[in-house]
């Protein structure tokens, strides 16, 4: 195969993959403007009515509120825990270090389904059957590993000589932490928080077993809605979420660079 032919077939394949990645999302956005109640593609006529329908749907609005609250609380709790853990790991030379790193990787590696089930069962055994509490604990587990990973990635880029220079200039441990380390790793922390928030908001696997009839998250509300009703209001609410998520992500990529979230072990 000549070099030019190789180059062209590679290019075509790559673009086909881009289309593959974006196709479902683009279709959702297109369908959300459909006038008809059926999700035909392409739409026969255009309308914004389903956006209104979606925003009027109490299941959706309630779900959004719950998802946002849970994500917010989980992120706020997971961040201090995660940042301290990352700093502790980074500055430690203990022989337990690899074990602790593996421990923090566990929530990502253990399937979300299993995490949710285990939490449900264990909390039920100690008589905790309140959905918000279950959701909160489960979502802290979702967010924390990402905060730890991005903070560690930021710390890895920190020149250790900076810490030593500060120490030789008379700074105490606390001052080194507050004035040197934290300001420099702030982008990493923020990136982890934002990404963790997004994943928590969108989560289904863990939440599936932790919700109940009164308290449910948006993705699960949408899923329930889909089971008996198949109209474009689902597309509308999904499109809104896609738009918001993309804007946040583009901002994240510009300032931090998202590749570091998924560095291999």
């Amino acid at each position: 195969m000549t070099d030019a032919l190789q180059a062209w077939s590679f290019k075509i394949l790559v673009w086909a993959l881009y289309v593959f990645l974006l196709a479902p999302l683009v279709c959702i956005i297109v369908v959300s403007f459909n006038y008809e109640p059926i999700q035909s593609f392409p739409p026969a006529s255009w309308s914004l009515r389903w956006y209104g329908e979606a925003l009027r749907n109490t299941g959706f609005t309630h779900g959004t509120l719950v998802s946002a609250m849970v994500a917010l609380c989980a992120t706020l709790a997971a961040t201090p825990l995660g940042v301290l853990a990352a700093i502790g790991l980074w500055s430690s030379r203990s022989r337990f270090k690899p074990a602790i790193e593996a421990l923090f990787l566990a929530p990502i590696v253990v399937p979300g389904l299993v995490t949710g089930i285990s939490l449900l069962v264990a909390l039920a055994a100690i008589e905790v059957r309140v959905a918000p509490v279950r959701l909160f604990v489960g979502h802290v587990l979702i967010v924390m590993p990402y905060v730890i990973r991005t903070t560690l990635a930021s710390l890895a880029q920190l020149d250790p000589a900076l810490k030593e220079a500060a120490e030789t200039l008379g700074a105490s441990n606390r001052q080194v932490l507050m004035k040197i380390i934290l300001p420099l790793i702030r982008p990493g922390i923020v990136a982890g928080m934002i990404f963790g928030f997004i994943l928590s908001f969108d989560d289904v696997n863990v939440s599936l077993f932790l919700v109940d009839a009164r308290t449910t998250t948006l993705p699960i509300a949408v899923m329930s809605y889909l089971q008996y009703s198949f109209d474009p209001s689902v597309a509308a609410i999904s499109s809104l979420l896609i738009a918001v998520t993309f804007i946040i992500t583009i901002a994240l990529e510009r300032s931090f660079g998202l590749k570091r979230l998924f560095a291999g072990n």
């Binding site: 990645l21 974006l22 999700q39 853990a85 399937p111 389904l113 264990a122 994943l199």
Partner: protein, 316 residues
């Protein structure tokens, strides 16, 4: 190296602790930042309490006698539930199908993920951020949204069928949803980013002169990519494969929605046990077996690649 530093750290901690109200002339020595692995303890407690303990609980539950509706552990120890699973051809087939679908997805993901990673790696810097966003876009939207989108693409009135019918290629719609293929497509879509990013990180660690050297020695693009670049990206490939395989084995929503209730994945059974029949004990068995099979296969992959790359891999 670790042993010596550890001792040093311990000595310093001890001497600082026992120094007491200082009778020495100089300022008292504060413990170095090195000994603050303790900072990680709260997070460790959270993970252990919220994940490991419940997981252990569930695994223990699998050894209890089956009692629908009962969640508490009791003293009964039995392997009856395990026997029930292992002696049933139905359950074993389900397990086999799950492994098969996960393996297919992982293989396709590795192939296409490598291609995407190479594309990003060679792209001019100004496009890189944009392409990465496109690549991780599936992760950013809820799994429900993703699956819903695929329903629109693959459905009987969906994008593919409408296009093919308008072009006159087919006359009746192809039933693409609720097939094994649909499940693989759905899983592939969400796992591609998780494969691409570790491979990309590994590629970035390769000396850019190395592929150029291959080029000067007469290697074409394909040869350079397969014989030089990708072998050097093995750590990333392995990382991606293990993550994708584990997640594929344990995915529930996508197979359920894309493949329908007869998708034949073990996770569907798990859901049924916990939410429909309330047989927590048997459900726990399914969870345990799922975890065990995943971990064994992942362990095998890691062991084999470790063995092959040990001699030349420079670990950072």
């Amino acid at each position: 190296m670790a042993g010596g530093a550890d001792l040093e750290g311990t000595l310093e901690m001890t001497s600082a602790a026992t120094a007491g109200p200082s009778s020495k002339a100089g300022p008292r020595r504060t413990p170095p930042l090195q000994s603050s692995a303790a900072l990680a303890i709260p997070a460790c407690i959270v993970v252990v309490a919220a994940l490991l303990v419940p997981l252990a609980y569930v695994l223990l539950l699998s050894l209890n006698r089956s009692a629908p509706g009962v969640v508490d552990l009791n003293g009964s120890f039995t392997l009856a539930n395990y026997t029930r699973f292992l002696s049933s051809s139905f359950y074993l087939r389900v397990l086999g199908k799950t492994v098969y679908l996960a393996a297919m997805t992982t293989a396709l993901c590795a192939t296409f993920g490598s291609i995407l990673a190479l594309a990003i790696w060679r792209a001019p810097a100004r496009f890189r951020g944009l392409i990465i966003i496109v690549v991780i876009s599936p992760l950013l939207v809820s799994i429900v949204t993703r699956t819903f989108g695929w329903m629109i693409v693959l459905g009987d009135n969906g994008l593919i069928n409408t296009t093919l019918m308008t072009l006159g290629v087919i006359r009746t719609p192809l039933h693409l949803m609720f097939t094994d293929g649909a499940v693989i497509v759905g899983l592939l879509h969400v796992f591609l980013p998780l494969m691409v990013l570790p491979i990309l990180t590994a590629l970035d660690r390769i000396d850019p002169n190395v592929p150029q050297a291959a080029n000067t020695l007469g290697a074409g693009r394909f040869t350079t990519a397969t014989q030089v670049i990708l072998p050097l990206a093995t750590p990333g490939l392995v990382s991606g494969i293990t993550i994708v395989f584990s997640l594929a084995m344990s995915s529930y929503i996508t197979p359920a929605l894309m493949g329908g209730p007869d998708s034949g994945m073990i996770t569907t059974l798990i859901y049924q046990q916990f939410v429909v029949t309330f047989n927590w004990q048997f459900g726990a068995v399914l969870v345990a077996i799922l975890l065990a099979v995943s971990l064994m296969l992942v362990g095998a992959i890691l062991f084999e690649t470790g063995r092959r790359t040990r001699k030349w891999m420079v670990r950072r």
